[in-house]
């Protein structure tokens, strides 16, 4: 799939390349944004920003990383800056809409669990939330965060151990 995108980019067929990337990554990128921003409506706006940035950057793709990894780098940087800024960029059509397909923030349906996760170090919160939102794919989480799979596993294990201890205390 990523090879198809690379071929399209080499032929300067940018609209088709973007379509392929949207088909494959839009939900993953959106879930990543939900993890970082904890607000699906805002995450959808940021997802739009991410694909807009990608669109503008397509002619400059140099092939050093796969298009998916490249997209995740743009997504990670955009999510981090959006989560740090109160003045994130707004786009009118999505702003005017109050409802989103999913309105619950990440891991909110189990309040006790959510509170426990919030007590973890930030990187462990991000890794464990992404892991469960992204259908339990360690490799995908590693690509998204730009860290080795071993590091993802290490954060996951520490988070599981800490959450296990919290569950034990709560019993």
């Amino acid at each position: 799939m990523d090879e198809n995108v690379q071929q399209l980019l080499r032929r300067k067929r940018y609209a088709e390349a973007l379509e392929e990337l949207l088909n494959r990554y839009e939900t993953k990128v959106f879930r990543m944004a939900v993890t970082f921003l904890k607000d699906p409506a805002r995450a959808e706006e940021v997802t739009q920003d991410i694909f807009l940035k990608l669109w503008q950057a397509l002619p400059y793709y140099d092939g050093r990383a796969s298009p998916g990894t490249w997209l995740y780098t743009i997504a990670r940087n955009t999510c981090l800056s959006a989560s740090r800024s109160d003045f994130y960029r707004k786009t009118v059509p999505l702003d005017s809409r109050k409802e989103c397909a999913a309105l619950r923030p990440a891991i909110q349906s189990d309040l006790e669990l959510e509170q426990s996760i919030n007590r973890l170090p930030e990187i462990q919160q991000v890794v464990i939330t992404l892991f469960y939102l992204q259908e339990k794919r360690v490799d995908e989480v590693a690509r998204m965060l730009g860290i080795p799979e071993g590091t993802v596993k290490s954060h996951l294990h520490r988070a599981r151990l800490a959450l296990g201890e919290m569950m034990k205390e709560a019993q």
């Binding site: 940018y14 990440a106 189990d110 939330t129 469960y132 996951l156 296990g164």
Partner: protein
Amino acid sequence: MNCEHARQALLDSLDSPIPAELDEAMRNHVGNCEACRGFAERQRALDVRLTAAAPVVSLSSEFRSSLQAELSDHPIPIPSWPESLPDIAHLAGCAFAILLLLVALPQYSAAILAAGMGFTLVTYFLQAVVRSSLT
């Protein structure tokens, strides 16, 4: 298999499937060790809770149309020069400078060639780093 290895294998099994032999050894240990059985039950229960609590989030049906509207407002910028032009200009400039120095100072030709090649390589690396940080 000791307790530490069994717990590590259990945590690994929650991340992704583990080899059958390791899985069997872990299950045998957990079956015979009360402390590890409690650990395994807690971790499996936690995994079930985390799986259940993770919402199935999806984009709204308006996402694509809204994005398309934004894309049409932001046409793709077409680079005004070939992508390889900075590399070509850099290498041509360095080669020209080396040639000039060789003509002006032929007695130092070996040193000029060595220093010129070194300078070319270092600056090529630096400009590549700068370019990648800008894109």
